[in-house]
Amino acid sequence: MNNERIDQIIAEHQGEASSLIQVLLEIQSENHWLPREALERVGEKLQVPLSLIRHIATFYKAFSMVPKGRHEVHICMGTACHVRGAKRVLETVEDLTGIKPGETDLDLKFSLDTVNCLGCCALGPVMEINGKTHGKLSTANTADVLKSYD
């Protein structure tokens, strides 16, 4: 992401230091990750020390300091999904993709993350990929869902 775009986003938030998290959310959303250079630029413009920005970028789970895959897989580990067997679904996805939550596979195809409650408890266990919700998952049908993504 170029500095021009970053400066634009910062300007949209009136260049206020308190908008730091909102600015980073926009950069994350457009760029799918936060490169070190972007953090440095934001720090410069908002007059916030880099170590504080780095803390924020790593403290909040919405941010990623490494590139994400084409398909971001979010598995709901909310309590309702948990009692319906979400842990087994997660293990199946880990086996099939070879990655653990927080990781991206080597082809940059899948990124895996857990989320706490997508609020679709009636469909639990639930997995969300690229905004699409897949419900009523089990060890047996999860593989079919993943196969449909290339």
């Binding site: 020390p49 880099l50 780095r54 790593t58 403290f59």
Partner: protein
């Protein structure tokens, strides 16, 4: 008047409004153990070792003295069965990280903490935050900061700043109770500093 009268360990202590119980105790020469407290820094309230019993209005509760403001007629007990028991557990949790820290070993002796109660942890940082806070509040350089949260939280140097500032300063080094800070610096220097000054 701004003067507040409270009692600590049976002793009458005079304090000013806005002071913390720990500050009042220190002024009166009463010892309360601390790990994350430093006079030059804003109170952090991270290690909780300075926890004491405080009684007011007929009820007693445990408060963390480095952040708890003094109150008129507050009755403070720095040692009690409960406070001691909690301090012991807190020390044991820390000893799982840094069993050989002189400061921890000394406190462990006082409170009977068992260094082997918990399984050993990989990192010997105890998160007192003294290094990060000193660099931010006193030196205003922000050469070292925290990253991540919870059990994944760590201290981390910013190589670009540390490589130019730290060798001339090193004021935070003696503050570290476990020497993890020095180890982290050496590692960062070896892996992330960008070459000798003549090459820059």
């Amino acid at each position: 008047m701004n003067d507040i009268l409270l009692q600590i360990d049976g002793k009458e202590v005079q304090a000013k409004k806005g002071m913390t119980v720990l500050e009042a105790a220190r002024r009166a020469g009463i010892d309360i153990p601390t790990l994350c407290y430093h006079e030059k820094l804003e109170p952090f309230g991270g290690c909780r070792i300075c926890i004491v019993e405080a009684e007011s209005g007929g009820s007693t509760k445990l408060v963390v003295s480095c952040v708890y403001p003094v109150e008129e007629n507050l009755v403070v007990r720095t040692r009690s069965e409960k406070a001691d028991r909690i301090r012991k557990t807190l020390l044991e949790l820390l000893l799982a990280h840094a069993p050989d820290s002189p400061q921890l070993k000394e406190l462990a002796g006082v409170y009977g903490a068992d260094r082997d109660r918990f399984e050993k942890e990989a990192s010997f940082c105890i998160h007192c935050g003294l290094c990060v806070r000193y660099c931010a509040e006193v030196k205003k350089l922000h050469a070292v900061g925290f990253v991540d949260r919870g059990t994944r939280k760590e201290i981390s140097f910013i190589p670009e700043i540390a490589s130019t500032e730290c060798k001339n300063c090193m004021e935070c080094f003696p503050l570290c109770p476990t020497s993890y800070l020095q180890a982290a610096f050496v590692l960062t220097e070896a892996l992330a500093f960008s070459g000798t000054p003549s090459e820059e």
